[in-house]
């Protein structure tokens, strides 16, 4: 019963790859579970595409390995039926019609020609089957790429920036599509993006990459809770409050937001309230300032050194 051991789980272990002196990916480990959509996030040039290419066997890691259901991509018995991939930029001959493009890969995978029309309908390109792909809009190209990925009805989907060039309607459609394929077909979906907002509504888990290194991985909630949220506290005796709060712990920082309130990071509202209570200090306001996931993402991926020098330059 090896089939029970998730035949469509993507796993990266210690993936490392450099181009010359540039470390594109360094010791990257993460996994993508069946029945889930995992967002693969990072700023441009973080190494996302390189990682996806290593998972797909198009690029060879310097060290480490990536497996799908425990096998390297090249060792998959029937890759087209197992994995569908959409990589950035076009992968079709511009002179070929959408239908003929798909029929080539039907033939290569031993699928019936009829699959080509089916996937075109699935991605909403049925009416453009006979048109040459070179004349397609960016959004249509993305749909054609997705259609190619879906030919073998795969249980793993790897998508590199699939929302590029899609109009809002297309983005909404893709969201529903990915959700559906993960929930209904128990697919493992890995979707990369440099915009968190784009995938936030779709993904279950997130893997964040910056400068080729894993910054964080987990569920959206885990990411939110791990973020350095702040607590705003207001009262008549700010000096007393400040000294009460600082004894909560060494990680707590207090700054004066204005003359009336303090901004506390590293402590929960409960801890701040208790600290004030213990010293019999009067409070007029105690609020947890929720940070958006986007802020968390920026905070995690920002190059601190660059930011610092910019601030110094001002």
């Amino acid at each position: 019963m090896t089939e029970a051991a998730a035949p469509n789980r993507i796993e990266a272990r210690g993936l490392t790859k450099h181009f010359g002196s540039v470390h594109a990916v360094s010791d990257l480990s993460f996994s993508v579970e069946p029945g889930s959509v995992t967002g693969f996030l990072g700023p441009n040039g973080a190494g996302k595409t390189t990682t996806l290419r290593m998972i797909l066997g198009l690029a060879k890691p310097d060290s480490g390995e990536a497996t799908i259901g425990g096998r390297h991509y090249a060792d998959l018995a029937d890759p087209t039926r197992m994995v569908g991939a959409v990589l950035e930029s076009n992968s079709f001959h511009p002179g070929r019609t959408a239908l003929n493009h798909l029929r080539i890969y039907c033939a290569a995978a031993g699928l019936p020609d009829s699959r080509a029309k089916e996937v075109l309908a699935e991605v909403g390109l049925a009416d453009s089957a006979g048109r040459r792909a070179g004349g397609f809009s960016l959004g249509m190209r993305q749909r054609l790429a997705l259609a190619t990925a879906l030919l073998g009805n795969p249980s793993v989907l790897v998508l590199d920036e699939p929302t590029n060039g899609l109009d809002p309607e297309g983005v909404a459609w893709l969201r529903g599509f990915l959700r559906n394929i993960a929930d209904q077909r128990q697919c493992a979906v890995l979707v990369s993006s440099h915009l968190l907002a784009e995938v936030e509504q779709t993904v279950d888990r997130i893997v964040i990459l910056a400068r080729g290194r894993l910054i964080r991985q987990g569920t959206l909630d885990e990411l939110r809770s791990g973020a350095a949220g702040s607590v705003s506290v207001r009262g008549p005796d700010l000096v007393g409050l400040r000294s009460a709060i600082t004894v909560i712990g060494p990680h707590v920082t207090v700054s004066a937001a204005n003359g009336e309130s303090l901004n506390v990071t590293g402590a929960t509202a409960e801890q701040v309230g208790r600290a004030a209570w213990s010293r019999q200090l009067e409070l007029h306001q105690l609020v947890t300032e929720n940070v958006s996931l986007e802020e968390v993402f920026l905070e995690l991926t920002a190059d601190k050194a660059i930011r610092g020098s910019e601030v110094a330059g001002l």
Binding site: R53, L56, G57, L58, A59, K60, Y73, A74, L76, P79, T80, V83, A85, L87, S89, N90, S91, F92, H93, P94, Y105, A108, A109, T148
Partner: protein
């Protein structure tokens, strides 16, 4: 045959549907040989269709007696077939289509001509020149435009076949070892 794939990134779906890249290259070598063969036959037919009436008009009749003429024609077709395989190998090494074509033409028309020319002055270079692809194909087809010393036709054919196998192997190794963009 391969550079167009690299140019339009169809190498991705190709190698995703068949991750054993060596098999893709072997298939392409077979197709290249077939295309080369068909192209060679077509080119020969066209050449003869033009040449025979033209030569007849000049009062020259081709001597079909014996095997000489037939052998030369077959040799020319074989040369085109092998060149197709060499071209595929070059495409695997130089993935940019235009660069691959220019490099091949510059080599055949300029570099080998220079080596051949110098080979008539220096015997040691002439000995090397005999084994180069252009010279080998001249030997097979017995068309010596540079008045140099060539191999015997059969030896030239073997050398040319060797070049075909070498480039097919190089292409195979390159496709397997290098990352696909």
């Amino acid at each position: 045959m391969i550079t167009t794939e690299f140019r339009h990134f169809t190498t991705r779906p190709t190698f995703l549907s068949q991750p054993h890249r060596g098999r893709v290259i072997i298939a392409k070598v077979v197709v290249a040989a077939l295309v080369g063969l068909i192209y060679g036959v077509a080119a020969t037919v066209v050449a003869l269709a033009i040449a025979i009436p033209w030569l007849n008009a000049k009062g020259i009749t081709l001597n079909w007696a014996g095997n000489d003429l037939g052998l030369v024609i077959l040799a020319a077709i074989a040369v085109v077939t092998i060149y197709a395989i060499v071209g595929l190998g070059i495409g695997c090494l130089i993935r940019n289509q235009i660069a691959a074509v220019i490099a091949s033409l510059v080599y055949l028309l300029v570099i080998e001509s220079i080596i051949g020319g110098l080979g008539t002055l220096w015997a040691w270079l002439g000995d090397i020149y005999k084994y180069l692809p252009g010279a080998a194909s001249s030997a097979v087809t017995q068309v010596d435009v540079r008045k140099t010393t060539l191999l015997a036709p059969w030896a030239g054919g073997l050398v040319l076949l060797g070049w075909g196998i070498l480039f097919a192997l190089l292409g195979w190794v390159e496709a397997r070892s290098r990352d696909i963009p």
